[in-house]
Symmetry: C2
DNA sequence: CGCCTTGAAGCAACAAAATCGCATTAAGGT
DNA sequence: ACCTTAATGCGATTTTGTTGCTTCAAGGCG
């Protein structure tokens, strides 16, 4: 993890960390990420540059820490009454947030200053948690559910891949298509014998309760 | 793009570029990427640091250029006689190369110094080209083939996502599993209603003269 | 073939950053 | 309250990044 193991979590260390993070957020808003420098952040945070260099190593790692915090979901996915509706809504929102300019910037920053992959792993864990919440609800309703891994591979991965590597088509319809395919695959794997055919294309999110 | 538009491709500019790239490759091998500095590269390449700063901006963009070159596939995928075999083999090799420490480093470097996504797009295009070659062969054999996009979403994206965001399981079996699922999906989409599972439906090129 | 234009490279002075040793402070435990 | 020790502050030093100006060479033209 980038904030080096904090042996003394409480007190001053915590204050400095928060102060520095806040300074980064403020300055990114004010002067833009490209104009940021370590000395600038240090001055705003009221610490000396060497403190930042020692704790974070360089600006990229600091930005990675701040970015991954911003990627933390703030609320649980909405409960719309069915797995399909919940996943559609979640995937749409996920794609929307991640593909927006600030979203892309956070993703990039997270990956950029993250030598050991800790922050990237955290970012992936956030998505998995959200999916797990949706799946747990579906299980409670008695719906058959796919594996979290399947949804990561089929929904999250394609979205992130396109954001990072391929310019172009990234809209709500694409998100729904991915969800459709993922659920379709799961139905097949769950029971190939039931005579259900292709995806029953219900339009938008409308709970069928 | 990082090497700024070269108005004078031939002659000195080209020599300098090649010399600098070579210096980067040598030094990465000798002292490691983390120890690299622009002045060091400049000295080795026999140019002044300001030349590098002016042409590439900073070390990251230079590394991105070098990295994307290394990600260019050197040979066409092997022809093993069937779409399934070709894709299995290609996916295994792709996963293998990309998930190796140097592979991961190249991917990271590519994304790192790539403000406009040009190099990342190139990287994605390489994979698409390789897949297209495999698909074209399958079409020639009369096999039904999935869309390139489907394979990108189902095979390439999950691999890259896991490499970048999720530590853990990345082996040949996983690659094959992804291919299996992708082909499975394609068969369903191809003929869900007619009883013929894998009827040789000729698609794109290949005039029937 | 030699001159002219022009973009790129060299050079050097300068500004900004990162690094490092050492002194000082404050958590947390006893 | 005291002691230990990680973390911060401070300042000197090194390294890196920037800039204006000069010099060089590729390509076009008479």
């Amino acid at each position: 993890m980038s904030p080096r193991p904090m042996a003394r979590p409480g007190g001053r260390s915590a204050r400095v960390q928060e102060s520095v993070h806040a300074a980064v957020r403020e300055l990114v808003a004010e002067v833009g990420r490209d104009a940021l420098t370590v000395p600038m952040v240090a001055t705003r945070a009221g610490v000396t540059p060497s403190t930042i260099y020692r704790r974070w190593g360089d600006l990229r790692e600091l930005l990675s820490d701040v970015a991954v915090e911003r990627l933390r979901p703030e609320t649980d996915p909405a409960d719309l009454g069915s797995l399909r509706a919940d996943l559609d809504a979640w995937a749409e929102q996920f794609l929307d947030e991640m593909s927006s300019p600030p979203g892309r910037a956070y993703i990039r920053d997270t990956l950029l200053g993250d030598p050991d992959g800790t922050n990237a792993g955290q970012c992936s864990a956030y998505a998995a948690e959200q999916i797990d919440i949706v799946l747990a609800r579906a299980v409670r309703r008695g719906e058959p559910v796919p594996e979290t891994e399947l949804l990561i591979d089929r929904v999250v991965a394609p979205i992130m891949y396109r954001i990072l590597f391929r310019p172009g088509r990234l809209d709500a319809a694409y998100a729904r298509e991915l969800v459709t395919n993922a659920l379709h695959a799961q139905q097949i794997e769950a029971g190939a014998r039931p005579a259900q055919a292709a995806a029953p294309r219900r339009s938008k999110k409308e709970p069928d309760n």
